[in-house]
Amino acid sequence: MSEWKAGTPFRFVGCVELREVLGRKAADVEQLLTGIEAVPLDSIYYHTHSYFLRYEHGPTLFPSDFATWAAVSVRDRVLSERLGLIDPFEFRDLEALRGQIVSTIDEHLKSLWSVPRLAHGGPFEFVSSHIIEVDLEVSANTLDEFRDRLATVDRSALFNHICEAKIRKGRRSGDFIIWIGSEEGLNLPDLANRLGGIQPLGLTLEGIRSQMLEALDGWRAEHASSVGSPSQRLDQ
């Protein structure tokens, strides 16, 4: 059957994460600030993105370990809310994200008479992560194949093609959207734009998957008459 066919297939690559303890701790907000300024960018990445891999139901409080620690252990709700609102996907790179986090904490500290300290639980432990890519040996040549593979592929592939691609590899749109929109891929910029409207912040990987599938199905239904038999696609 003739379908939306790509020039180059999409290869799904999953990943695994190995965590490294950096041995740096923070017992108050000032130490948190100096820690954030000093640790490698991999640690900033871990504390602002890896929750996707860690929390299958979504983070308990905020999608940032810094914000959650400020809320739970320091009990500084104002700071935690300000940190929680920072969307890591809005920044051009991790250094810019680090800068925003540092500025937010710095401004908050300037507005206070004393440094908020640990009130409950343990100090903040800086951790970093190593991502190892795993070729899942799953590929898609057409939009229908892509939709089917996306529905069942290991969720780490979503993390790899969205978070890793956008944040660590500088592919700002993420691998899925690039492939769908580019001439080498499916060359469907309209669909790519629609998928680009999905905001990962606050979603789980399964939530992102669901929203992507919904967007793909909706788009295919709207364009069913343009290629092939509608029933064959709508039955997917």
Binding site: G14, V16, L18, E20, V21, G23, H57, D154, R155
Partner: protein, 399 residues
């Protein structure tokens, strides 16, 4: 017959077994040697009994050796374990010499030629002295060494510093060290007797054996009888719950043989229970099937420890779909997601409050139990442990 990775296909998260098969291609053919103090007995050994066949199944050439030593060596290791966890211990120089002697003898006995050697806890730590130059050495420490007894730490640290990497179960268990320290959570094996699915008849048989009727909700704590696990505190919480909900309490665990302190804690729990026929104190040794059945029959599970290591009993209960009310200590915080898979509490009253809340709201308890099982599926199954070990082997091969 050893269990293969494919046996976990329907249990692990969807797609995970395929991912592990693909990941293992990067580690296939690597030689991995595990060295422990014993082959049976504790969580370390239980985990390796599950992991070694899986590593073998995915193509890693894995071997497992145990140290051979006399009574003095065992005494030294006990002192090291206690001292590393911060207890005041007396350690005569003779014990240190005994440890060195046993390490030397085993260092000559083992074939240490592997790509990666992983020693577990203090028993085999000193083998690094006999390392070949092109072998990567990992110290896998399950203990909380954040506040060690200084004399013990000063003795162990030079050994540790020679390793290529250390692995801890929680960030707060680690120490400042001049080597990379990785974080690998312990895990449960969903196919062993402690965690496998049970038939209703199997559960009933265990309850019958312990004379526990199913006529009212069962609160359960599975933990050793020692002062850190606070059985009296659990009984006090149960009493506060009991005044509103007719329920039973089961306290199941063991005592360290000949440990007078543990015996005193057990006696204290029995005294606190008094003549309450709804409190069942079960002294269990190695009884995986019984623990499995008790966890499955419980309405909710309590883990009110004052101090805890990782606390895998929490994951075991969560895997059986039970909401857990745990203390905010050790690995319990990490396993229990407050308000989603259970609650963490800091007091007898807090434990009782959440206990009442869950008994009052069975639908919430059921939802939490479902999420708890999924949390374990994603994070604390042996398949995730396999993933971490493969990742570590791969990472070390490239650094």
């Amino acid at each position: 017959m050893p269990i293969s990775l494919n046996a976990y296909r329907e249990i692990a998260p969807p797609g995970r077994v395929e991912l592990l098969h693909r990941l293992s291609k990067q580690a296939a053919g690597k030689r991995l040697l595990h060295v422990t103090g014993e082959r049976q007995g504790g969580e370390v050994e239980e985990t390796l009994h599950a992991l070694v066949p899986l590593l073998d199944d995915v193509g890693v050439k894995v071997h497992w050796e145990t140290m051979e030593g006399a009574e003095l060596f065992s005494e030294a290791v006990r002192a090291f374990r206690n001292g590393l966890q911060g207890e005041e211990v007396r350690i005569p120089d003779g014990l240190l010499d005994a440890y060195r002697d046993v390490v030397r003898a085993n260092g000559h006995r083992f074939d240490l030629l592997a790509d990666v050697v992983m020693t577990h806890d203090p028993q085999a730590l000193g083998l690094i002295e006999y390392a070949a130059t092109d072998v990567r050495w990992i110290w896998r420490c399950y203990l909380d060494v954040s506040r060690p007894h200084r004399k013990i730490w000063n003795f162990m640290r030079p050994y540790i510093a020679k390793y290529d990497a250390a692995v801890f179960s929680l960030p707060q268990f680690a120490q400042p060290l001049p080597l990379p320290q990785y974080l690998i959570y312990p895990s449960i094996d969903p196919l062993n007797d402690k965690n496998r699915e049970l038939e209703r008849e199997e559960i009933d048989a265990v309850l019958e054996k312990f004379q526990i009727p199913r006529d009212k909700p069962i609160l359960l704590q599975v933990a050793a009888f020692n002062r850190f696990k606070d059985p009296r505190g659990v009984i006090e919480a149960y009493r506060l719950i009991k005044s509103h909900h007719n329920c039973r309490l089961v306290l199941a665990g063991g005592v360290t043989p000949e440990d007078l302190d543990d015996q005193a804690v057990l006696n204290d729990a029995r005294e606190a229970a008094g003549k309450d026929e709804d409190i069942h104190i079960l002294l269990l040794g190695d009884a995986p099937l019984e623990i499995n059945a008790l966890q499955r029959s419980a309405t909710l599970v309590i883990h009110k420890a004052r101090r805890e290591g990782f606390g895998l009993a929490v994951a075991e209960a969560m895997w059986k779909g039970k909401p857990v009310i745990g203390s905010e200590t050790g690995g319990i915080n990490l396993q229990v997601m407050y308000g989603q898979t259970g609650y963490t509490a800091n007091s007898v009253e807090g434990t009782a409050f959440y206990g009442r809340h869950l008994l009052n709201n069975p639908t919430i308890a059921e939802d939490m139990g479902r999420r708890a099982r999924e949390r374990v599926r994603q994070n604390f199954l042996i398949t995730r442990h396999l993933e971490d070990y493969l990742s570590l082997i791969i990472l070390l091969a490239h650094t």
